[in-house]
């Protein structure tokens, strides 16, 4: 975290690296520093190591349009204990071991073949958003424990979508962690960018009907502890989805800059803003061209969610 400390120093105008380097004292332990605007680096209570969530944050690369191509994925539902905050374990139901599950990506026109294996303790399905035959909708073909089902359909329309379990009770199956991001790239590719996926969610660890922790990609305060490193010169594209259960809406707010927002990742209508709101199941594509370097905070603009774990940083470097 020494590197981070140096950048934070640089931001406040101090370039004297010799004094403060490599010994970051959490702000809460510094006399008079109580009420620090945010926990960052070592003092942010997050689970795991620096690259643990890379598979969820960085989507598979977009493939150029190619008629007749088949994209195959296998998703396995299991019951696991997820550590969602340091030392706090949530008995989750997940696709491929994490909540959110893996990012599924295809190009418009690809045939998508998703083999679903239910290795959990309850009947599950996968319901994809998008245009497909109703018998591939993951609503009528409940996959029993130990069973499997292969969903096959053409990937369309281009945009940013989701998938989630649609077995009943629906609220329980989603709240437990059975959901993920689903990108369909347009025939005409998007411009080159550093691409990120952020799935907003929450965990009601004590079952009282209220979320105890809010996260992006499954671990509270993870990107506060391990800021996402991006270059100032590159375009940053964030696929942002809301799969929070129990709360009607969630939001994304960027500090110290603005971004363009394309709802659902479809159409020509872009909004220029620093805050977007998404209902449960809503999603969209953000494009950010950072004007400056340093730590740019991002978080839900519901302060409660931010202080319960949904907060992080972009570390913008030259």
């Amino acid at each position: 975290m020494g590197k981070l400390a140096l950048d934070a120093q640089a931001d406040t105008g101090g370039h004297d690296h010799s004094n403060h380097s490599h010994t970051r004292v959490p702000a809460s332990h510094v006399q008079g520093a109580i009420g620090h605007a945010a926990m960052v680096g070592d003092e942010a209570p997050a689970v795991g190591g620096p690259n643990d969530l890379d598979a969820l944050l960085y989507p598979p690369l977009a493939l150029p349009y190619e008629p007749g191509r088949v994209r195959e994925y296998t998703l396995t539902a299991t019951d696991v204990e997820l550590e969602v905050a340091p030392g706090v374990f949530f008995p989750a139901w997940v696709y491929n071991g994490t909540a959110p599950g893996p990012v599924i990506r295809a190009t418009e026109g690809d045939t998508l073949r998703v083999r679903f294996v239910n290795a959990g303790q309850h009947p599950h399905t996968i319901h994809f958003h998008g245009i497909h035959p109703t018998k591939m909708d993951g609503v009528f073909e409940i996959v029993d424990v130990g069973g499997e089902f292969t969903y096959e359909f053409e990937a369309r329309p281009a945009g940013f979508h989701l998938y989630h379990c649609h077995a009943t009770p629906l609220k329980k199956h989603i709240q437990k962690g059975l959901y993920g991001a689903f990108i369909i790239d347009p025939e005409e590719p998007r411009s080159a960018a550093k691409e990120l996926v952020m799935v907003m969610n929450g965990f009601d660890t004590d079952g009282d009907g209220e979320n105890n922790f809010y996260t992006v990609n499954g671990r509270s305060f993870y990107y506060a502890r391990y800021p996402i490193r991006v270059k100032r010169s590159e375009l940053v594209r964030v696929y942002l989805a809301n799969l929070t259960e129990l709360d009607l809406i969630n939001s994304f707010h960027l500090h110290a800059d603005f971004f363009r927002y394309q709802p659902t990742g479809t159409g020509e209508s872009w909004e220029y803003t620093d805050t977007v709101m998404q209902c449960q199941g809503q999603r969209g594509v953000l494009e950010i061209q950072f004007a400056g370097t340093g730590l740019h905070m991002f978080h839900a603009h519901q302060s409660e969610f931010a202080e319960l774990g949904w907060m992080g940083f972009f570390e913008v470097v030259d």
Binding site: P26, S28, H29, I34, G35, M39, E43, P45, V84, A85, P86, G87, V88, F89, F90, F203, T205, D206, D208, N212, F213, S220, F221, E304, E307, L308, G309
Partner: protein
């Protein structure tokens, strides 16, 4: 000699045989313990543990909150996450992070809390269960200080010693009263002690009910009541040389009974104030003063026919009133619900024992005994007086 040693062997044998059930019990316990869950599996599965903490105390000092938690369940419980007002906060733990049964730790949270605002603290276990405690108004927790000690002493003296001393000044008037009226006043004393006993008992039950089931229980209260009742019985026997207590001995018993009650009362005042649950205003202090003045009357009445020095009276006032100060100190700086429940149970037992002593006195001295109008009227007047003045202190 032969017979003597045979008897001794017989005694030894009796003691050895008495050990047999104990040893067999130990064996049976060993078998059950080593069988693990096999026994429970025969009838079903156990529900998961509640994994809730017992948040015992929340203390506020400048820019810091200290939360003392206890594990009330048989399984270990681990402190994993701490929230203040629904926000995750950094914290350190003073003591073990994983708590065994009935073990406690103090969580230290650097936090810029707002005085007088309600505040909620939450402690989450490793299984994600959050235990929440709401504090109606955050106020700085008093720390032991000279002025604090002095303050509690003054308040304790005002609500404990002063009213008792004033009540004792009824003594000259009582000396003029007829025997029948004296009996009525003694019955009144019994009434007020019965009132104090019942209120202390209710308080003890209320406190034990809030305790984790392992520490609480009516047994704790019964133990306290029995302990003090029997202790007071022994004391009464010693003071009066075996016969029924009269005069100074009876007055002393009444003073002790009242004193033990006032210890609990002081404890309640100190603890409630320290925890920010009580506004220690003029009205409350005045209420307690009026409520407690009748206690002095109770101590003075047995002395109506006895010559006593001023020093003796001062001593009696201190026995009855000074425990309020001690209670306020304990409650203000080291409140413990277990101690509170036990103190109130002890107060109840003592009060009930003194009711018995006073009752004996009235039965012997009242014209017509316990059935006389003086006795019945006095007793009811005592209850009524305590009830009505109690409204002021409530």
């Amino acid at each position: 000699m032969e017979a003597g040693s045979a008897t001794a062997r017989g005694h030894m044998g009796w003691r050895l045989w008495a050990l047999v059930p104990v040893l067999l019990l130990a064996l049976a316990v060993g078998v059950v313990v080593t069988s693990g869950s096999a026994l429970v599996d025969l009838v079903g599965t156990n529900p998961p543990p509640a994994d809730e903490f017992d948040i015992r105390r929340v203390e506020f000092s400048p820019a810091e909150i200290r939360i003392t938690v206890r594990n009330p369940q048989p399984d270990d419980l681990t402190i994993a996450n701490v929230n203040v007002d629904d926000a995750i906060v950094p914290f350190t733990v003073d003591g073990p992070t994983t708590l065994g049964r009935l073990r406690s730790s103090t969580i230290v949270v650097p936090y810029d809390w707002v005085p007088d605002d309600p505040i909620t603290v939450g402690v989450t276990s490793s299984t994600g269960i959050q235990t929440v405690k709401e504090i109606p108004a955050a106020t700085e927790t008093p720390v032991p200080s000279v002025s604090g000690f002095f303050g509690y002493a003054v308040i304790g003296a005002l609500v404990g010693i002063l009213p008792v001393a004033l009540g004792l000044l009824w003594l000259p008037a009582l000396r003029q009263a007829s025997g029948a009226w004296l009996s009525a006043f003694m019955a009144l004393t019994a009434g007020l002690l019965a009132f104090l006993g019942v209120s202390a008992l209710a308080e003890a039950f209320e406190l034990q009910a809030a305790l984790p089931s392992a520490l609480g229980g009516t047994g704790l209260v019964l133990l306290g009541v029995a302990l003090s009742f029997l202790g007071m019985t022994a004391l009464a026997g010693r003071l009066s040389g075996g016969s029924a207590a009269t005069g100074l001995a009876l007055a002393l018993l009444v003073a002790i009974g009242i004193g033990l009650h006032n210890l609990g009362e002081g404890l309640a005042i100190g603890a409630s104030f320290a925890l920010g649950e009580l506004q220690l205003g003029t009205f409350l202090i005045v209420g307690f003063m009026i409520h407690n003045v009748t206690e002095g009357l109770g101590i003075a009445t047995p002395l109506a026919k006895t010559r006593v020095t001023i020093l003796t009276l001062v001593g009696l006032a201190l026995v009855a009133g000074a425990p309020t100060i001690l209670g306020a100190w304990i409650g203000g700086y080291a409140s413990s619900d277990v101690l509170g429940a036990l103190f109130f149970a002890i107060a109840a037992g003592a009060a009930f024992q003194v009711v018995v002593e006073v009752g004996r006195y009235v039965a012997r001295n009242a014209p017509g005994g316990l059935r006389s109008g003086y006795a019945i009227g006095g007793f009811l007047a005592g209850l009524t007086a305590m009830y009505l003045t109690g409204i002021l202190a409530g």
